[in-house]
């Protein structure tokens, strides 16, 4: 446990150097945009600047997630396959713990980013639109006849599972890539394509299975059927993510344990 804590602290510290300023920066930008919105009501000539900032902020909020995902991948690739790998692999630590500590760090940052994104959305929505947003959400939930809390929780769980499973497949791809003596990044990418195709295949299979259970009558718009359908797809997807994630994790673990090839 102590080793895991130390590892997590190490990864967190390494990534915080970039991620913390990134997240705070995006929040600050959203806050600044909000300020500009209020200011532009007093000084109408600022409206153009405000609109510009609003667009930039929106892109930055989305870009923040992209950055975190891409940089997490880079962090893992660098730590496990380049010269930096010497450090991690000289530690008396099982490869599974290297995988789980990287994964845990990534998920923590995603949660922070998610919280920041929610904050940004609230900041970026113009004051007069708040009421409208509430109405829209209520209508959506009414149509689907699912309790808001249940839906939101399920969605968050799904998003996290999906993101985690995705990262696990990346780990598996990189673990395959490191088997090569040269062009390891390219090999990892090729491996990922392969894994992605298998993933898609499994997803399609799952959907086919679910549709056949509920009958192919997609056009029946009875609310009850739709709710069950949606729930099943969501639960089915979650199960698939867990399956893919776990398998990828095991593959990566096996390769890093028995076929380590640090250059």
């Amino acid at each position: 446990m102590k080793l895991f804590n130390n590892l997590f602290a190490y990864h967190f510290k390494c990534t915080a150097r970039v991620f913390l300023p990134l997240i705070l920066g995006v929040l600050l930008l959203a806050g600044f945009t909000k300020g500009m919105e209020l200011l532009s009501k007093l000084l109408p000539f600022l409206t153009a600047l405000y609109t510009f900032l609003l667009i930039i902020s929106a892109f930055c909020t989305i870009g923040m997630f992209l950055c975190i995902i891409l940089l997490s991948i880079r962090h893992f690739f660098r730590n496990m396959t380049s010269a930096h790998g010497y450090f991690l692999f000289m530690l008396p630590v099982k490869p599974s713990m290297h995988l789980s500590s990287h994964l845990f760090t990534y998920v923590i940052w995603l949660i922070f980013a998610g919280a920041a994104a929610v904050g940004c959305v609230f900041l970026l929505i113009p004051n007069n639109a708040y009421a409208q947003l509430g109405t829209i959400l209520d209508q959506v939930f009414a149509v689907l006849q699912i309790g808001e809390n249940r839906m939101i929780t399920l969605m968050i769980v799904m998003v996290l599972l999906s993101a985690t499973a995705f990262m696990c497949t990346i780990y598996a791809a990189i673990s395959i890539g490191q088997l090569a003596k040269e062009k390891r990044a390219v090999t990892s990418f090729a491996a990922y394509i392969g894994i992605y195709m298998i993933e898609q295949l499994l997803s399609v299979c799952m959907l086919i299975v679910l549709f056949s259970i509920f009958g192919m009558d997609l056009f029946t718009s009875t609310a009850v059927l739709a709710e069950n359908m949606l729930l099943s797809v969501m639960i089915g997807s979650s199960v698939l993510y867990v399956l893919i994630g776990t398998t990828s994790f095991l593959v990566a673990n096996r390769l890093f344990s028995k076929h380590l090839n640090l250059i």
Partner: protein, 232 residues
């Protein structure tokens, strides 16, 4: 006395290429052994397998009775031939890092060695000269109370003063219960501190003998002998 390191028919292949070819030898505790050979002879490959950075293709390696793995990493201290630490880290960060992960890390010893070099603990790696960075890497490796030290080209590419410092540090940290395996292609610079020499050529072990014995038998320095053996 049980050997601290045993290799039996250790082989590592990359497709057709044999990086290590049927290498067998034993090292007793309390020895400083030179792993000598030209670039590409398989020295780094051997050390990496022993350190657990690479998996062997066939054969056996045992360090104090255990195959390279999580357990051996707790008593094997490895110095890679490349810089492997984050260069934005401060010296104090590195000390804390190593103490957190290695139970046998002697932080007082490390601090003292750093002080002797005139280094402030607040200095970041990237602010140091290359020679100083190499010394820091060595300090971290030698501050562990390990049973086996694996040093990959510790003196390659450093100035003579740094080289002397490195050899001194190795001698100072010598212990009768531990052994040190030093790989280098700069044989003349290191042969004075060696107990035994292992010659590697194209992945094969061609010689393993005590150094003074070689001198007595061949009336040559180990360096000269190696060149002769290598040419044949």
């Amino acid at each position: 006395m049980t050997p601290i390191l045993t290799c039996e028919h250790l082989t590592k292949t990359y497709g057709v290429f044999r990086a290590l070819d049927d290498v067998s030898f034993t090292i007793e505790p309390g020895k400083i052994v030179g792993l000598l050979g030209e670039n590409g002879a398989g020295k780094s490959t051997l050390l990496k397998i022993l350190a657990g950075m690479l998996t062997k293709t066939s054969g056996r390696a045992q360090i104090d009775g255990n195959e390279p793995g999580v357990l051996t990493k707790s008593y094997v201290s490895y110095l890679p031939d490349k810089s492997y630490l984050n260069d934005w880290m401060k010296l104090s960060d590195l000390f804390t890092l190593f103490s957190g992960f290695f139970a046998d890390f002697d932080i007082q010893k490390a601090k003292e060695m750093a002080k002797n070099l005139g280094l402030s603990e607040k200095t970041r790696l990237k602010a140091m000269s290359k020679g100083m960075q190499e010394k820091v890497h060595l300090i971290l490796t030698m501050s562990r109370h390990a049973k086996l030290y694996l040093l990959d080209e510790p003196i390659g590419g450093v100035d003579p003063a740094a080289r002397d410092y490195i050899l001194d540090t190795i001698l100072t940290n010598f212990s009768e219960d531990a052994s040190i395996l030093i790989s280098t292609h700069m044989i003349a610079d290191v042969e004075q501190i060696l107990d035994e020499a292992i010659f590697l050529k194209q992945g094969k072990l061609i010689l393993h003998a005590p150094v003074d014995e070689l001198r007595e038998t061949h009336h040559q320095s180990v360096d000269a002998l190696f060149r002769e053996v290598y040419r044949s």
